[in-house]
Symmetry: C2
Subunit: 300 residues, 2 copies
């Protein structure tokens, strides 16, 4: 049975993953705090993942083959150091446990590039795993535990480290979403100098990586990045060009914050072991992002 | 208010810690799955630590200043690779979270020498933290997370790594308890060659270390060991001598298992920062252990 449980199904990445799972021959059980109307091959479950008893019952009821766990405390501007990271870590451990106890065989979880040490070259196999945020520590600790657990009980597992996703559904205060939204409205966009080089990845590509990971039997840790670094400033200038606007984005030293110079994935295992490659280049991703935001403000 | 919550209060180490806390001017709240009669300054709480909601309510009711958390899945012969390690890890995270949320200020937790890499020299500050058991991984992951959490929210924390405790109340199948019990009964004690060198510590000393840690404000990780390594074979022979028995213990190659050669604590921070030193030498600890087992079989 191709029965799969997806958590975080109403989140930024999760919504796109759900679409990709539905395009496959899968019976999808989506978990969320507030229920949504069931679709042809998706059943929504209203469960608070912090309630271990209910989670265990859900897994026994569904008895899924696979678990794709994306849910985590992700409140914009707060999640880096929020106490809720402990809740999310504990909930993840109990979720994996309940899943395996109910006969589950394949688990894929969302990690983060923040598990790496960002103070030096980042991120290759040589980069130390020395997170500086509570969020990164919590994700890293869960990774270690789930990895050891999977080895111990013979569970097939994969961990996809998310880098810098952007696209439809991103929180409107995050940098690319904010710029796309404001450009569409003809508003000014004050930015920091944007020197930092990042591995931006269109959210559809991120989602496809997770959909492929859950179908595969590849084991271990995979960086979900394009492998291409782009300066944030160049991304924003290109966005402005694609929007057909001029001079709305300004770069100001006074908005500069202390940021690591470069965070780009080097790991190619998603390509070599799972057969995934990004399908969207930056222009296409940014164009779709602008179009999505434009649709949200049809009257302007 | 010197109000403290002690978990694992009915466990091997916990029972001795409880006695030591009661000898101090503290209001002790002991947590256990099955309640016991309240004493003059101890209140027992019947709570399953896996029930996060009840744990949160308990902390709100008690509002303790300190938390001494010893509880963990510890079934003899099973705990090294048991699935329950995930439950214990998750429960610990939620317990610390609930404690801090209820205004708690000082938390002390039990770690293990199994957090270290046992394949080389063990254990000094140079020994890598590379646990090979699920138990060790789970403890290590919790340590990392609680450490980051404590730094992030400004919680005073300490982590005491337990080495090889022995003494009254130890599981009767563990090596020293088994030998003491059988020697007292005049029964033969078939043993492995016992070449391994270990840092054995009388459980009263282990308990005193934790009682001192919770009173102190010392922060970070502390190895709870004597710093002295003894061959297991020598411990057993001395036990036989103190029991006044001869020839009951036999050492057999056929019982040999693959064991790390030497695991001895080198960290002296408990002495320099907390003022703790072992009060029991091996002879005194073994003598008391023999006497305790003899009391359990008064008719023989």
């Amino acid at each position: 049975v191709n029965r799969i449980v997806l958590t975080g199904a109403s989140g930024f990445v999760g919504r796109h993953v759900l679409q990709r799972l539905l395009a496959r021959d899968l019976e999808v059980h989506a978990v969320a705090r507030s229920p949504r109307p069931d679709g042809e091959s998706v059943t929504w479950h209203e469960v608070d993942l912090l309630d271990a008893t209910k989670v265990a019952r859900l897994m026994q009821d569904i008895r899924p083959y696979a678990l794709l766990h994306l849910a985590w405390y992700a409140e914009h501007g707060k999640f880096w150091s929020a106490r809720e990271n402990l809740d999310s870590a504990a909930a993840t451990l109990e979720l994996v446990r309940a899943f395996e106890q109910a006969g589950g065989r394949r688990v894929v979880l969302a990690g983060t590039c923040a598990e790496y040490d960002w103070s030096g070259d980042c991120c290759s196999a040589e980069t130390p795993l020395r997170p500086s945020s509570l969020y990164g520590v919590a994700k890293g600790a869960v990774r270690e535990l789930v990895s050891a657990y999977a080895s111990s009980v013979g569970l097939s597992w994969a961990w996809g480290r998310i880098f810098f996703p952007y696209g439809p559904g991103e929180h409107p205060d995050r940098v690319i979403a904010n710029a796309a939204r404001r450009l569409g409205l003809g508003q000014e966009v004050p930015c920091s100098p944007g020197d930092q080089v990042r591995d931006f990845l269109y959210v559809h590509d991120v989602a496809e990586a997770f959909a492929k990971l859950v179908e595969s039997e590849a084991t271990g840790v995979f960086d979900v990045g394009s492998g291409r670094g782009v300066r944030l400033k160049d991304v924003l200038l290109r966005l402005q060009e694609l929007a057909g606007r001029d001079g709305l984005i300004t770069f100001s030293e006074t908005l500069r914050r202390d940021e690591p110079a470069r965070i780009v994935a080097e790991d190619r295992r998603l390509e070599t072991e799972v057969g995934w490659r990004p399908a969207y280049d930056l222009d296409r991703g940014l164009t779709e992002t602008l179009a999505w935001w434009a649709d949200r403000y049809p009257d302007r």
